[in-house]
């Protein structure tokens, strides 16, 4: 059963919106769920929280992300279960666009922090994942750790900051409104106080709204269109083949789930910007202007890794990123990418920009998918010269929820 996406509307917001916004909402609904890339940012659409799979994975990528990693401080398995159940209830309510409710009144802290009170649901999704450390001896979960939830090996070029790495639980918040995504993590953090502490939090942006009507892949901070040949998340066969854990997984509680790998990849933009257009295009393997594979004319033209130029040399060079990362080169291994650009200011040590890509991918087996691909990239990809990985995480994302089956159901 695939996730059902349909426009639902917050009454509060429908009442509050002007004719202009209503027109936008109607237009967004008219585009249908199969063409969400062309939907305008910040619609009134609320995505269902429950489903066979968690939302935020096959969901067409929203414009904004806040990714949070937590260390759990709750006592024992009961404390962890209570935290997850409380988070799950709140997450469901948050995705509707309606404020969190509680005892209320003037003499209690507000049940909702309030910064999204005037905002629309904005296709908010909240996706939970469990890191390897959750399966240590604190919660008695060692026997339920999936075999595929490996500790990632070190890769050449890693410069991991421990404060941006790891974590017991991750929550990925994605929405078409930056404040809606932050509001969700803000409230979940508040609700978790005493049971979970923020380890890191990363803000990112993807397709920004002024490009929302184009079919082209959005551009990353390298200036290249990125994601053209990504797996198509609306293709169920593809998702079953590469992303969703099936019944052959070693842990029944992960059936219908997937594994998330997050990598905070800083780009040395100053060095990249100083390289020539020709170097940049040979490094990526595509034309910068329209994103066509070198030797082809259009962005969506198939990538022909065997094509030779007039001198008999490969049109797409041996070290080109799209060659080294391709499923062909990696014996069929493929991942669903769902990353977000970030701009976190200046590295005070160098005066250089601290900006890049918060890379997120989903797969059924990181050891067979992300790890060999990244190992190859780190040693062969011409782009790796310009990159440094400063954060890393791997998380087991359980299947979707249902009424009475909150986050952690079947595990804790």
């Amino acid at each position: 059963m695939t996730e059902r996406r349909g426009p639902t509307f917050s009454r509060r917001h429908l009442l509050a919106t002007s004719g202009l916004a209503t027109a936008a909402v109607v237009a967004a609904a008219a585009t249908g769920s199969t063409d969400a890339a062309a939907a305008p940012e910040d619609s009134g659409v609320a995505l269902p929280f429950h489903g066979a799979h968690q939302a935020g994975i096959a969901t067409p990528e929203q414009a904004r992300m806040v990714f949070a990693s937590f260390d759990v401080t709750a006592a024992g398995r009961a404390g962890l279960a209570a935290l997850l159940a409380e988070w799950s209830d709140a997450a469901e309510q948050l995705t509707t666009g309606r404020p969190l409710t509680g005892p209320g009144g003037s003499f209690a802290p507000p049940a909702d922090t309030g910064e999204a009170l005037d905002l629309q649901p904005s296709r908010l999704t909240l996706t939970v994942g469990f890191g390897p450390s959750l399966f240590d001896d604190r919660f008695g979960l060692a026997a339920t750790r999936p075999a595929a939830l490996i500790d990632l090996p070190a890769f050449p070029g890693d410069a991991l900051d421990p404060t941006l790495t790891g974590g017991d639980i991750c929550i990925q918040a994605c929405a078409d409104d930056a404040q809606v995504a932050f509001h969700a993590i803000h409230n979940l953090t508040r609700i978790g106080l005493g049971s979970a502490t923020l380890r890191y939090l990363q803000v990112g942006f993807a397709r920004t709204a002024s490009s929302s009507a184009t079919a082209a892949a959005p551009r990353n901070l390298l200036g290249f269109r990125d994601g053209t040949n990504n797996l198509v998340p609306t293709d169920e066969g593809t998702m079953d083949a590469h992303v969703w854990v099936d019944r052959h997984g070693d842990q029944a509680w992960m059936h219908g789930g997937t594994f998330l790998v997050a990598r905070r990849i800083r780009i040395h933009l100053e060095a990249w910007d100083a390289s020539t257009l020709g170097d940049q295009e040979r490094t990526i393997g595509r034309a910068k202007s329209v994103g066509a594979p070198l030797g082809s004319a259009h962005e969506r033209d198939p990538v022909d890794l065997g094509a030779l130029d007039d001198f008999g040399a490969p049109r797409i060079p041996a070290g080109a990123h799209i060659r080294v990362a391709s499923a062909t080169t990696n014996h069929g291994a493929a991942i669903l990418r769902r990353g977000y650009s970030f701009v976190d200011g200046v590295d005070p040590a160098t005066g250089e920009l601290d900006a890049g890509l918060f890379f997120i991918c989903f797969q059924k087996d990181p050891g067979a998918q992300f790890v060999p691909i990244q190992r190859r990239l780190a040693s062969q990809d011409a782009l790796s010269t310009y990159l440094v990985h400063t954060g890393s995480g791997v998380f087991a994302c359980p299947p979707g929820t249902a009424p009475g089956r909150p986050w952690g159901h079947g595990l804790v």
Copy 2:
């Protein structure tokens, strides 16, 4: 002469947009320039770069900001003048939404970094300011330093990080698209390499798109509507009275300019979230739900600082933020606020959110406007308990440009 705002369209983007986006653009144009707060984010509108005043000050606030502070390393006044002229030319071109052009070709670095190639102009404005340190002995400008460009005094509660404070030159980039704003600063930084080094860079968001159709002020991270009683930037009399430097300023080159004060204000959200609704409302002086002044019903109701409750106590408490910050309390001193919320991750020392408000204000005389207001706030405002100022800057923003009169004209 006021800044002229009118929708202009990039041909490239009009051709590329679908019917849906075109409808949005037409709708945006139909709302007219006097109601830009209700325009949707990421329109195709390009704002004029030239004018009597710099854009980005009286301009209705865009959704996104990237604020950059630079240290100048160019040699002498000629080097500074060349930097400013080159920046000014590039800034003008960037605001049109068209890519920067240069010698080009495969054997040169691209003249434009490319990440905004598919994006619309998005009301980009670029606003320059000169810090006190620019007027030291490096460029021979000491005699032209405006008397109003004071070094800000220390305030109670300051915890300024030197890497987030000061700078010779600031450039404020505001746009309705996060990637457009970043692209502008990215390219200006690249163009300045060798002549200017980034000191700090702050990313922020204001009215996010899903609230763009409401007339209410957007909510800050405290969850309260913020800016209800701000100066109205489209009111020329107000701007002349409080913001624009007139002919009585001591430096002719600043006539038509203004002074920018930036304060990075971190909010201790964990403490704020734990306070009761009643405490929060008394701290701000407004109802959290609709933003009405305490004792009133509607957000836009006038603030009556003399109103008493049934027990004879002020309805708006003595320490309420809106009382302490009001022009009445400050003997008529008022400032044009134009701040942006920020979320910069987690303070690794405490696990608390590093989030808050990047406060920006404009005024004709910081010593007579921002300084006494902030001094009063730091000592009397109940909200100050929850705030810490971690960055600070003051900059002289020259008047607007014209063809042949780039940034720095009349100064260098």
